[in-house]
Amino acid sequence: MALTFRTQHLKQKLTESLKSEHFVIHYGMRNPREGRGLASDGVRDRVLVLTYLHALESLYNTMTGHPWGREPPPVDGSKRTHVYVFGDNPITTFDSNTLVPEIYLPCRSKEPTTQSELLRAAAEAVHEGAHLFNFRKRPYYDLSTEPWVWFDEGIAVLMETLVAAGNPDYCRFLVDWIDNPETPLDDEEAKYQAGMFMRYLVKRVGPEIVNQVWNDSLPHEDPIEALQRLMPQPETFLSADPAVKDIFGSGYCIDPYFIWDHESAALAPDIFFRFGERAVSETFVLTPGKTAQLEDALDHLACRYYRFYLKKGVKGVRVELMPEEGAAGTKLKGELVVVTTDRTRLPAEALSQSGSESGPLSVAIGSLNPDSIDHLVLVLSNCGVKSSAKFFSDHDDVKGYAVSVSAT
């Protein structure tokens, strides 16, 4: 049979190797001292290979050490993980005979400078190395791995930030995280953005939770179910109940708005300076007696920000949220935060049902002094889920709602 794409064929061309304690890297030269050059499947020199090797060993030490304490990845008789350097794309996959995981890393790069090339190389090696460690619990040939893809990618990006500290390469994943807060946390197209969620979890709860969810989840659980069950007391991972300050809606959705705030668990001045603040869906200027209205929709495990600037004379603000499907039992959660002129934030006020069951969720804040307030932000989150392990279930997606904000 004709084979158009053959990694086995490419691997055979890699005649050079470099070993460390836990890895053996197979590569070939673009211009060897003797013999046929590998052209676009060969490396320029050994610097790239040494960079890979150093990054992989650093990752190995981190993941087997405290607090991660991971078991070493499965290996074959060589007692080392095989790493093949060719092509343009990093891939963690497994051997067709032994099913032992192996890594492919690119032999070339389109980065414009040597520095950015090597930074990217280190980041990619760490990233794929994290997949290698995660493979033990969820081998990629196992069908039950599917709902865990975004969590696996989140851990891999987190490891880039921890092992390759100071290496800004992971920032290439962030522009969509900044621009699209309304993208679900477990969205297939946004799986690298889960790295920001992991970073938040580690800061808020500690690294143990990430490890526990990966290692100690039950066979039928998806990551959200495992997060719910394993979240240490008194924390709750996900709840639309206005009385509950859950990690997702009241934490991960609100805190990144304050990415510049040293009090925020999502503090990331480097990201703020590079990309600015997260996208705000709509901004209103309120004058006394004015009511602003909007209609919008939100997918599961995502959020939107609405910003309100107050004109002089505004003493109070009332916000009402009416979910299309009714307020009773809604997975939509609204919280209003006052941001002062010195860029600090007051405690978030949750929107709740005060009247009849058919009435809206609302909150009113009085005694406001516009001179001391920079703005107010309404953070709307959808605490519903996609039942990712059961693809046929309805998702909590495109939940429509209307918001009314009146100033007095």
Binding site: F5, N89, P90, T92, E128, Y140, F392, V398
Partner: protein, 219 residues
């Protein structure tokens, strides 16, 4: 996830089909219409929301609206052809030999023969055959589209020449989960693919039995 529409005026019949689909195509989200008007509304809503149907199971004889007498109706099928040309249409009828039915299958589906099938309601095993056909079509179309996205040259049967680079993909960045997910999809649905598709997949992947389960690896 696949989106399916069943347009069938017999409630018992549509429930049987829905149950079959739920068991054999668990990734499908199924909408049911009992008449032409409701069917048209669901088609238009799907277009408005940008969530087109992947397959439509369509009775030939349908009432225009509830309470009316069922009549042979080709208008819905024509509308599907216009609005969702990629959807597979499975016609159901108890009148396979009816001239109008035969004419419709010949004329309307002449250009879309690979995306249209008909089943006789008189055949007691038609729900199994129908869902089997949908599995074959839907899983096959999905894996082909993923294969093409990941490996644009997967269609090529010729071996790589010296002047051509035999790369895995032309995409940027890590392909770990793009490839792993495609491998799992092929493992899960290998039995649903036809021979032509299996050959195409085997140009890129090795498909082997490991202790009773299908394992897919890069060649």
């Amino acid at each position: 996830m696949f989106r399916l529409l069943i347009v069938e005026d017999m409630e018992v019949e549509s429930q049987i089909l829905k149950d079959f689909v739920a068991r054999r195509l668990p990734e499908a989200q199924v909408d049911v219409a009992l008449n032409v008007r409701d069917g048209r509304e669901l088609l238009e809503r799907a277009c408005r929301q940008g969530k087109l149907y992947d397959a439509v199971i369509l009775d030939f004889k349908l009432p225009e609206s509830t309470g009316e007498n069922p009549e042979l109706d080709e208008s819905l099928c024509e509308e599907i052809g216009l609005l969702m040309p990629d959807a597979v249409v499975a016609h159901l009828t108890a009148f396979m030999k009816d001239e109008r039915v035969q004419e419709h299958m010949k004329v309307a589906h002449a250009q879309r023969v690979d995306k249209s099938v008909s089943f006789s309601k008189l055949d007691v095993t038609y729900p199994q055959q129908l869902v089997g056909c949908l599995r074959n079509y839907l899983y096959g179309a999905r894996v082909e589209s993923r294969l093409k996205k990941l490996i644009p040259r997967a269609d090529e049967a010729a071996p790589p020449s010296r002047s051509r680079r035999d790369r895995v993909a032309l995409m940027e960045g890590s392909l770990t989960h793009e490839i792993a997910s495609l491998q799992r999809e092929i493992s899960a649905h290998w039995g649903d693919y036809d021979e032509r598709l299996k050959v195409k997949i085997q140009r890129v992947f090795q498909v082997a039995d490991h202790d009773g389960r299908v394992i897919v690896t890069l060649l």
